[in-house]
């Protein structure tokens, strides 16, 4: 049997389609903007190379890590995680009713559905650092501002994903409960929530992971937690202390992610 194709077969299509005039113009504009972005932000490989010795010096000063302030660092780390847990709990609790209102077929009125979607989108679109600055101004410096910032941020995240989980929940048991005369609260509690539970747990655990990471940064604007410890160490060029804090944050994030992954597997 011949394995080579027939040389006289039909012509193959062109390897590449030439772009249209508009696509070409947009491509050129995008490339020009990319070049201007590199220039405007002083992106420079030589600068990076020149910074190499400084990087090596800082790295050298980081080791061995200092354990002098291990107690306060551990306390701040615990507070960071407590902020994340409290903020996530408040955010998830508030997200549940908002998600019901944001779910098209569960919302009592289309206007309420759209209004809730807008509120959730605002919570999600504004960065958590901005929420933290706002709450520091409202309730003062400290972890409570951080908890509030995380809670609002989680409303944006969980509100959306809880609503998606409820939208995707199997409609057939809901129809069965409607057919036997159950009202909206009964249908939500009896059929929607049990079906959406894996999605809800997934979103809540992801938001706890995200909150643990972001609660580190919130300290930098005075919203409590270990962030402020890291900032002080860096400002005082105590890189050996800084690496201890960074490693502690890394350990916390890894532990939370691993526990979260285990719980997600259990919830499925």
């Amino acid at each position: 049997m011949r394995s080579t194709p027939d040389a006289a077969g039909p012509a193959a299509p062109a390897r590449f389609e030439p772009p249209g005039a508009l696509a070409f113009a947009l491509g050129v504009a995008a490339f020009a903007f990319l070049v201007s972005a590199f220039r405007a932000t002083d992106v420079s490989l030589p600068e990076l190379v020149r910074g190499g010795p400084s990087a090596l010096r800082i790295l050298g000063e980081m080791f061995p890590p200092s354990l002098d302030r291990l107690g306060p660092v551990a306390g701040s780390l615990l507070q960071t995680f407590q902020m994340a847990v409290a903020g996530t709990a408040i955010g998830c609790a508030l997200s549940l009713p908002l998600a019901v209102l944001a779910t098209r077929h569960l919302s009592p009125h289309p206007v309420l559905h759209h209004a809730t979607r807008v509120v959730v989108a605002i919570c999600r679109t504004v960065p958590d650092l901005v929420w933290a600055l706002l709450f520091v101004a409202i309730v003062g410096l400290g972890p409570f501002a951080g908890v509030l910032a995380i809670a609002v941020d989680k409303i944006g995240f969980c509100g959306r994903f809880f609503a998606e989980a409820m939208e995707e929940a199997d409609r057939k048991p809901q129809e069965a409960l409607r057919a036997l005369g159950a009202g909206r609260p009964a249908i939500i509690l009896g059929a929607v929530l049990p079906a959406a539970t894996p999605g809800l747990i997934n979103a809540a655990l992801f938001s706890l992971e995200k909150a643990t990471r972001s609660s580190v940064v919130l300290g930098l604007v005075g919203a409590g937690g270990i962030g402020i410890e890291l900032q002080v160490s860096m400002d005082m060029f105590r890189y050996d202390e800084a690496i201890t804090i960074i490693l502690a944050i890394l350990a916390l994030v890894v532990v939370v992610e691993q526990c979260s992954a285990w719980l997600r597997r259990r919830a499925m």
């Binding site: 057919a179 036997l180 005369g181 509690l189 009896g190 049990p194």
Partner: protein, 249 residues
């Protein structure tokens, strides 16, 4: 039987879906304790007719009285009351898969008790849990009460769906092809439960079926539909199997 005592009285029912009349000027009556089989080919309008009766599908025209309540003009509250007194068993059982079997049966009471007492068996009063266990016993499944519903077999799931309907304490049970997704023996079991409910407890049962043997073996009356119209309505004993088979040709 006296028409005044009818559990279902429907007349002039019309429903169009996708520009086609799937139910076309249907009049239908069912008396207390009667077991009626609705038969007909795919698209004949059986399932739509059943859903129209409790307004899971809104009729375009016609009158429906269930338990003496005007279903078409019913307010939200009256419609919920009507549905509460009418059990509906779907083809694919429609159980809440992640909930326990007992919770699914307790759900049957959601139309007649406050939602916070029946959305899960964990919060249900002892009397309600006991009643749910009795309903499970009536379909022969008290031993699966603690099992998750998505771990039941097809036949068990359908019997649990019947138990959930019984929990409504209905006078009327509507079943949309309840044996269609079951193997033959599970289908016979389910149909046997319906016959027992009609004969022993005086419940009115209306079921749709593609199984001619189920219609002939388990009903008192057969109503045949073709292209949305009733073309056959007679006591089961007076109908030849060939007459029912002809509805599918």
């Amino acid at each position: 039987m006296a028409r005044a005592a009818a559990v279902i009285e429907a007349s002039g029912l019309v429903k169009e879906l996708g520009g086609r009349r799937v139910v076309d000027d249907v009049a239908f009556v069912a008396s207390p304790g009667e077991c009626v089989a609705l038969v007909g080919a795919n698209g004949a309008g059986k399932s739509t007719l059943l859903r129209l009766l409790v307004r899971l599908v809104e009729p375009d025209a016609g009158r429906i009285r269930i338990h003496g309540i005007d279903a078409v003009g019913a307010s939200t509250t009256a419609l919920r009351d009507l549905r509460r007194r009418t059990g509906f068993v779907f083809q694919h059982h429609y159980l809440v898969g992640r909930a326990s079997t007992l919770t699914n049966v307790v759900h049957g009471a959601l139309g007649r008790v406050a939602w916070w007492r029946a959305f899960t068996q964990g919060v249900a009063p002892a009397a309600l849990r006991g009643e749910a266990m009795a309903c499970l016993s009536r379909v022969g499944l008290p031993h699966v009460a603690a099992q998750r519903a998505d771990r039941l077999s097809g036949g068990q799931s359908q019997r649990v769906a019947i138990a959930r309907a019984l929990m409504q304490r209905p006078a009327l049970l509507l079943a949309d092809e309840p044996a269609a997704s079951l193997d033959p023996s599970a289908g016979e079991e389910v149909m046997g439960v319906f016959r027992a409910l009609a004969r022993e407890e005086g419940m009115t049962v209306v079921f749709t079926s593609h199984h001619v043997s189920h219609a002939l073996g388990y009903s008192d009356r057969i109503v045949g539909l073709r292209a949305g119209r009733i073309v056959l309505d007679a006591p089961t004993g007076s109908i030849e199997a060939g007459t029912v088979h002809a509805l599918y040709s």
